[in-house]
């Protein structure tokens, strides 16, 4: 699941220089996190109206990043044709896909934070860094590239205080890795010396 958060209202208002705005929410990740489902779209719509914006209409697509046909979206939502801009309540993937086809200005209402997950109603953030070279099993299923604030692959830094990361007091990823590997009886994995990451494996860095 893509983790996102709603931008500050003032920031959204500043983005929207156009008058007639159509709003699009997302029925997948943003809905689950309550950042871009129907209640959130309606809530933001009312606030924007109160701030003097003309909201021409709104919809929640089943998935903003996965659209079969923009023509279908237009047929379902003819008000888009009377709008100057779209305000999207989805992750950057959804905003990008819609920007590609919309032909008018498209603005994000959310900030995209990380690739996380949801389990038993608990939203967990920053699980995967999409490095293109998954070695997570060596770390007991906890990715240090993402969960360690310094992306350290060979063990903890000296910055944690009482098990809390120096950056934001989250539990040190390396303590979690240690505990998980211990549970799994795989502490020997900690002895592996990991070479520097090959960043050409990321999609953007691929060698041509």
């Amino acid at each position: 699941m893509i983790i996102s958060r709603l931008k500050e209202f003032d920031e959204i208002l500043q983005l929207l220089t156009q008058k007639n705005i159509f709003m699009i929410g997302c029925g997948k990740c943003a809905k689950k996190q309550h950042t871009g489902g129907e209640p959130e779209v309606i809530d933001l719509k009312e606030k924007l109206k109160a701030a003097g914006k003309n909201i021409t209409g709104w919809t929640v697509l089943s998935s903003a990043c996965s659209i079969n046909s923009w023509e279908d979206v237009l047929v379902q939502n003819p008000a888009i044709n009377k709008s100057d801009a779209l305000l999207i309540m989805s992750c950057g993937g959804g905003v990008s896909v819609i920007s590609r086809y919309a032909g008018i200005s498209v603005y994000p209402a959310l900030d995209t934070e990380s690739l996380g997950g949801v389990c038993c109603n608990e939203i967990v953030t920053e699980l995967c860094g999409m490095c293109g070279d998954c070695t997570i099993w060596q770390y007991g299923g906890i990715c240090p590239e993402t969960q360690c604030s310094k992306s350290l692959l060979n063990g903890p830094c000296g910055g944690a205080v009482e098990g809390k990361c120096e950056v934001d007091e989250r539990v040190c990823a390396w303590d979690k890795i240690f505990e998980r590997l211990k549970e799994l009886g795989k502490l020997e994995n900690l002895e592996i010396i990991h070479e520097p990451k090959d960043h050409t494996k990321k999609s953007r860095g691929k060698k041509v």
Binding site: G158, G159, W174, F178
Partner: protein, 289 residues
């Protein structure tokens, strides 16, 4: 005698830390360097420590070495990717820097450029590996160098190590760290426990240099107690609180700690709060000069 030779001569090592200036005025740094000449076996030069932007340690080391003082250049993984780290190491070698101290580096959010992109392209274990390759005449990609480096590598460690940290300590040795400089020691008993732990895994020629911070005030003690890896025992905090002359008290405490840990480790590393005006006196009080 070079730092490497001194380290292996069996002499109890004295190193001391200097921070490059925040700006272009090098007078304070030069004064500190002059105070340490003939006292310290080598002078450590920090690399944007606590993620606060300062003059490049490469330039600062160059200036200090110009005074005939050997330096240990700190090199963190926070600000440079593998290209920049290697090119700085080649440059360091070219201007005569023979020792580096490798570390991850405090995260940018701890410093004065919070929004900076944290690089950490490689970690300290990998950077030690890179340096080993440069010393062998090759870069990280395996390309042959026109002239290899000849740089002695050290690393840092806290003195309270959990199992994961101890394994990383071991990896640093495997990747070529020949000496370790520790976070500041205030609790001799706990330091002794640390030494027991690492003596079990280090090779004899891997040296441990204990960090010493002479306290200057109760405030400095309270501040340091919040720094990762530092724990100041209550009796020391109390002494600082009760003292009419906290600066002198801090010097006494530092000298006592040095005397007590001397039989346990291979040297000490003075990291003053402020300048090095008292460093010589502290070393004399500790019978090191």
């Amino acid at each position: 005698m070079s730092f490497v030779s001194t380290l292996h001569s069996g002499k109890f090592i004295i190193t001391a830390e200097i921070s490059p200036p925040k700006g272009t005025d090098t007078s304070r740094m030069n004064r500190d360097a002059d105070l340490l000449k003939g006292i310290a076996d080598a002078v450590n030069v920090t690399d944007n420590q606590r993620a606060v932007m300062r003059m490049s340690p490469l330039a600062a080391c160059g200036l200090i070495q110009g005074k005939g003082i050997e330096t240990i250049m700190h090199i963190t993984c926070r600000d440079r990717n593998r290209l920049a780290l290697q090119s700085d190491l080649l440059g360091a070698n070219a201007i005569g820097i023979r020792n580096v101290l490798v570390m991850s580096g405090d995260h940018p959010v701890k410093g004065d450029h919070e929004g900076a992109k944290p690089v950490y392209d490689v970690d300290s274990v990998q950077l030690l590996g890179i340096l080993r390759k440069l010393n062998e005449g090759f870069d990280l990609s395996g390309n042959e160098l026109a002239g290899r480096t000849d740089i002695f590598a050290g690393a840092v460690t806290n003195t309270e190590l959990n199992e994961a940290a101890l394994i990383k300590f071991k990896k640093k040795i495997q990747m070529g760290a020949s000496f370790f400089q520790t976070q500041a020691v205030f609790d001799v008993k706990s330091f002794s426990g640390f030494m027991e732990k690492v003596n079990g895994i280090r090779l004899k020629n891997v040296k441990i240099i204990a960090g010493i911070i002479p306290l200057r005030s109760l405030r400095s003690a309270e501040f340091l107690n919040k720094v990762p890896g530092i724990k100041i025992p209550d009796d020391i905090v109390r002494k600082m609180k009760d003292s009419k002359n906290p600066e002198a008290q801090g010097m006494e405490i530092a000298a006592r700690i040095i005397k007590e840990i001397r039989p346990l480790c291979d040297g000490i590393h003075i990291m003053p709060v402020g300048n090095h005006e008292n460093t010589k006196t502290i070393l004399e009080m500790a019978d090191l000069l």
